[in-house]
Amino acid sequence: MASADTASASSFRPALAATYDGDDPSLLERILPLVDIIEVSPDTIARSDRAGVRLRPEILDEFGAVLPQLRLVAHGVGLSIGSFDHWNESYLALLDGLFSRFSLEWHSEHLACTIVAGENVGTMFPLPRTEEALDLVCERVAAIQERYRVPFLLEHVIHLLPDAPAEFTPAGFLNQITSRSGCGLILDAYNLECDAYNQGLDISAFLNELDLRPVRELHIAGGVEHKGFYLDIHSRRARDTTLALAREIIRRAPNLRLVTYEFLKEAVASLGHDAICAELARIRRSIHQ
């Protein structure tokens, strides 16, 4: 029997979120009635100037203006939790700023490395699935959980490079992280499809092995195929196959609370507000089937 915290997945309808990173109040006005939560990336709403890196006050004010209607989660891209030497302290300063202004339901990051020896890699790469990487990530998750007393989730990223020699399977590595650290997971349905297409990931086997209880959030996005790769450029509507996979995960993950449609700020012009709103309505219908 499911505990109170693990209510039956089939009877629970996850909330719907959309990414929004400011500077487009008319879009915010249109998507707010369609979603339950807004996902914001602290890095994307930041500016670096002579005084350092800080959140742009005009965007915080945008959120502040709709606060009675607004529930927020944060999803970072720049923490670099897996860097061998140190993570990005500037990101934590941004997160401090966001927490000081808003009440966040939870926050999350990518299980990845974006900075090496202080240098920006220009992209994200996954960590080798080794004890060494596991120890490093779990230690840092503990520090984050101590610093912010709301749940912290990690999201798997796509693999474009060959896998490093590993001591764990992809699901086994995530299981170790969640069981040792107590953090939650974001599953990204489109990322899984990318890994299946690009690297031959067996999604069924992955989901069968993965402990789905820590999965709190599910990402849905649409990307492009380029030179024989599926890329996680969040620039399109979700494919039907992505939604079908999302429904399967929703059915199986007992603690999943949120489904987020991710689209890049840079893609809003090409997608258009109408299409984004239509996609949110489509995703809500699909995930509540």
């Binding site: 670096s48 061998f84 020896a117 240098e119 890699v121 080798p128 080794t130 060494e132 490079l161 490093a164």
Partner: protein, 176 residues
């Protein structure tokens, strides 16, 4: 050096085309992979997108001169780029100001760099010398018109600063 450090430093070198070829079997497999080319392309695509958004005039000029992609790549591969867009843009423009052989690229980059520094809170007054009418150059970059030629006997002295009236002031000096 731990295995994690060796891998991450090795991947950074591979993405940025630096250093000697790896002697580690895993890094060798990455070096020969299709995925590495894709990762390099993605990293450069993001840099280009961000720089175009921030360094409007300079990027238009570089595209007009068909050297945008090559210079963005040279900058990315040769420098420790910042994860923050504004900082990266200022660094790129400062780098162009000292690494380009083309005087118009250098001048445009110096000018736009000064604008970004002032916008970022610098209290310095920057001076940039143009060999042709700067406003007409910027207008040409904006509307696609032909870029004016250098004026051999003229110098346009531009000052940029928060203390300067309207932030930018220009004087034209004619040499005898």
């Amino acid at each position: 050096m731990t295995q994690l450090e060796r891998y991450q430093r090795g991947l950074l070198d591979l993405i940025k085309r630096r250093g000697t070829p790896p002697c580690d079997p895993y890094l060798e497999s990455v070096a020969g992979s299709r995925g590495l080319e894709m990762v390099r392309e993605i990293a450069l695509w993001w840099r280009a997108l961000q720089l175009e958004a921030q360094c409007h005039f300079t990027c238009r000029l570089l595209k007009r001169l068909n050297c945008f992609d090559a210079l963005v790549r040279a900058y990315f591969e040769g420098n420790p780029t910042s994860p923050f867009v504004e900082e990266q843009s200022r660094d790129f423009l400062a780098w162009l100001g000292t690494h380009s052989d083309d005087p118009l690229i250098r001048t445009t980059a110096e000018f736009e760099h000064a604008l970004l520094e002032v916008a970022a809170g610098s209290v310095e007054i920057y001076e940039v010398l143009w060999d042709r009418h700067p406003e007409r150059v910027l207008a040409a970059l904006e509307n696609g018109a032909e870029i004016p030629l250098a004026e051999p006997n003229c110098l346009y002295r531009i000052q940029i600063g928060a203390q300067v009236a309207d932030t930018v002031a220009c004087t034209r000096e004619v040499r005898e």
